[in-house]
């Protein structure tokens, strides 16, 4: 956390000093990295392999799809067996003409979940189901190079797992960061 704050302190002054633009209409960017999620209702922490692909429709608006592949719960004796999710939505970019690109997004999605219900001291595998989700994302991109950037996202997801065995709140706050790449798919920089 300390290093992250130091990183932010160094990047924010760059915003006012820079006037070149790395975000433009037709830019396609993507990233793949690991994410950590915390489900406060279940008191468990989960690990995901996550990736996203984003197209800048203009300097301020982008359309983005995300996927979360559930790896495992980091909490011992977690009841969550599976929680793969996909999201699709749009993002608003507050500083379109700068390297530092803070963003806010709204992405509805669905997840494929499976939860074990403790029964007579044993874990019984419960039904899998598809859960509708809503999520809000805050974060930023930092475009340090023509082809690469650094990305950080904090996502709050709201959802509920409903089966004949149980109903479980699967709302989660997740965090991911990593290196991404970006290319111009329109070939004409605007």
């Amino acid at each position: 956390m300390f290093y992250f704050i130091i990183f932010l302190l160094f990047t924010i002054p760059c915003v006012s000093q820079s006037d070149s633009s790395f975000t433009y209409k037709g830019m396609l960017r993507g990233t793949a990295n690991f994410a950590l999620g915390d489900m406060p209702q279940l008191n468990i922490t989960n690990a995901y392999l996550t990736g996203n692909l984003e197209y800048y429709a203009n300097k301020k608006i982008s359309i983005r799809g995300d996927n979360y592949l559930f790896l495992n719960s980091l909490t011992k004796n977690s009841i969550l067996q599976d929680n793969d999710a996909i999201y699709f939505g749009a993002f608003y970019h507050f500083l379109p003409n700068h390297h530092f690109d803070p963003l806010l997004g709204f992405q509805p999605g669905i997840s494929h979940t499976q939860i074990s219900i403790p029964f007579s001291g044993l874990n019984e595998a419960a039904e899998t189901t598809i859960c509708p989700l809503t999520s809000f994302v805050a974060g930023f991109n930092y475009f340090a190079d023509q082809w690469f950037h650094f990305q950080l996202n904090i996502r709050y997801t709201i959802g509920e797992h409903l089966t004949t065995a149980d109903e479980t709140n699967i709302s989660e706050i997740s965090f991911n960061f990593g290196l991404g790449f970006n290319i111009n798919v329109l070939k004409k920089k605007k």
């Binding site: 509805p108 509708p132 149980d166």
Partner: protein
Amino acid sequence: MQVFREIALFLAMTFGLLKLAYRQIIRHCEERSNLLTVRISLLIAAFYLLPFTLSAQEKKDSNYGGQLSFGMRNTFSSFTDAQSIGMGAGGEFRIRLARQINTEWFADYLATDIQGMGYRHDMHIGWSVLFYFSKHPLTTGKISTYFLAGHCFDYTEVVSEWPGVSKGTRWSSAVQCGFGIHYNLTKNFDLSLLSQYMVHLGTDINSSIQVDPATGYSYMDITRQSGFSLEGHLLTTLSINYQVGRLWGKR
């Protein structure tokens, strides 16, 4: 003033037609099949379109027609038998017909917990006509309010966690109307909030809490109501939409 006259005319036609249709539905549907219900609801929806179609013929509106938008949405369902709020996710697209007339085509998947004893799944696929009150709707940085009415087909599944109770399912048709707002962050991108009441035209699936006399445990029982019912729920939708281009008209 012309806008208000159009709204008054539209509301008068709508309520008159709904009243007429409601009487016809009550008279016929108790003894006939659901197919008739579907046909009648389609007829109601077609009548809804009538005043909009007349407006769409105005020449001055030709520059606005054909705008195509795609969006994603979250819908929250309330005032159902479940007595709790359900949440759904889905998508939509819009085709604008005229300056003050837009159409919205949507699909939703909703899940609702029923008091911790069962759940309900709803799938909606349908369309609505949007009538903007402002003469210049969808302007960047301004809120556009609109009235909406439309029709949809839906599939409902109600499941009890109690082992002895079999699930209830139904296909039905529905009509919906409500009010909403768009807020355009840019020329092509808007955030929308919509609140509409959806009335299902068909048989109802009732869920009720019972007590098992043998064990004393409470459970959810499911009964399918025979005949016709006007069961409904309030849907609140938050969506984002991006205009990708035009199907016709000036670019």
